[in-house]
């Protein structure tokens, strides 16, 4: 399935191996980002860029320091992390169970697959109004929104992975005397893993996106609250701090999945 979904960090997927860089020249890639920062700073210093539209890089760094010391950022971060982790765990467990079940059993596939395939065309973020009606504005709707966003990519990729297990390997397992548990453990699960990991990577991007939307619509705590609260007071520096933290979190989870993939798929090398 396509890997460019909104919310997944924009990035070329599995292209050719990165061009080898000549040693000692890595700094050349930093020329333009640093230049942009300098120009941004200059524009702020000369008054070209108004403080209440976009704070200067130096102000942003200061604000990051301030909200860290005051405890606002660590507290908000913790609240947001808990929402993502709980929501992700919920959606992922359900996605894996449903995906394996519908992938393995004929009836499971007939019962589970059609409604999931229909529902996945619905942008889950459009459910925010209903979720607020049903679950109020506390933690439940935020966690469920994350869980729902995670459920679909995990389910679809696990299902496709299980269905895509090489039937020749299944025959081999049969004539080699594997019992049901061994077939699952040594053939089906490892066979479905590459696809499932693709689902994992997609779903983490969507988990963060869902959290941002849920927290921006309604929150009295968390990163999103920090940002919306800063908006009230035209604190563009704090807003940018929040955005940078969101970006770093996305980057961090992506790096985590890459490490998991490298370890789980080391037989491919």
């Amino acid at each position: 399935m396509s890997t460019t979904l909104p919310g997944a960090p924009a990035r070329a997927v599995e292209t050719a191996p990165p061009r080898r860089q000549e040693p000692g020249r890595a700094w050349q890639r930093w020329i333009s980002p640093v230049a942009i920062l300098v120009i941004w700073q200059l524009a702020s210093s000369t008054g070209l860029l108004a403080e209440d539209e976009l704070a200067s890089p130096i102000r942003v760094v200061q604000a990051a320091w301030d909200v860290t010391l005051s405890g606002e950022l660590p507290e908000g971060l913790l609240v947001s992390l808990v929402r993502v982790v709980v929501g992700f765990a919920l959606g992922a467990v359900l996605g894996v169970v449903l995906g394996v079940w519908s992938g393995l059993s004929r009836w499971g596939g007939l019962i589970i697959d059609p409604p999931v395939q229909m529902l996945r065309t619905l942008p889950h973020l459009a459910l925010v109004p209903l979720f607020i009606l049903w679950f109020g504005v506390q933690e439940t709707p935020k966690i469920l929104l994350v869980a729902l966003g995670v459920l679909f990519p995990i389910y679809l990729n696990v299902h496709a992975g299980v269905r895509g297990v090489d039937p020749k390997l299944l025959e081999m397992a049969q004539v080699s005397g594997f019992d049901r548990r061994e077939v699952l453990r040594h053939v089906v699960i490892p066979g479905a893993l590459p696809s499932a990991l693709t689902g994992l990577r997609l779903s983490l991007g969507i988990a963060w996106l869902s959290l941002v939307v849920a927290e921006t619509v309604s929150a009295d705590s968390g990163l999103g609250y920090l940002i919306m609260d800063a908006r009230e007071f035209l604190r563009t520096d704090v807003i940018v701090v929040g955005l940078v933290v969101y970006a770093l979190l996305g980057l961090g989870t992506d790096a985590l999945v890459r490490r998991i993939e490298k370890r789980a798929l080391r037989w491919r090398s």
């Binding site: 020749k168 004539v175 594997f178 037989w267």
Partner: protein, 235 residues
Amino acid sequence: MSARASAATGSSAAQVSGLVREFSGRRVLDGLDLTVDAGEFVALLGRSGSGKSTLLRVLAGLDVPDAGSVSVPSSVAVAFQEPRLLPWRSVRDNVALGLRTDTDVDRVLGEVGLAERADAWPLTLSGGEAQRASLARALVREPGLLLLDEPFGALDALTRIAMHDLVLDLWERHRPGILLVTHDVDEAIVLADRVLVLDEGRIVADHAPGPRPRTDVAALRATVLSELGVVDGAA
């Protein structure tokens, strides 16, 4: 009426009679009779579509006959055309997984010349090595009947010759009954005690090439090729 009995029947490694298998009205196997004696090496030749793969799948328990009776020993092992190794398990695990006896896996890996590659990932093996791993996986099960489904078809000529010697060597050591399905007439004549020709769902010819080693295969080769519908022996 059909049955696939899983009991060693006297001195035979496989006993098939009146085997019928149809696919959407087309009779692929049409009342086939076949006996492989215990420890006997039988090669089965046939054009593509002659039903040789279907017969092998029925003997392996991967397909169910529409009529007739099939009886095979309790331990049947298969080496397929592609090695069918689990790429995410080591060579040793590939041989050992699903094994219910405590056969020494490393000894068998040594016999096929893979002792040093026991911990390797299958994707790092050459074609010949992968096929030897597949043979080891079959042999470690100490089969009464070993089914070989064109296991050398995808190998280069030199590797194939080496594999022929290896298979003969392993067969003499373990003495399973072997049914080798192949389309290579020379291979069949060089390796087997008996060379069978399958056509239109039945065995139509049954040759015994005589004592090994076989240096002159030309005469029998011409006969078998004509039975396979290849005129002039110019294959």
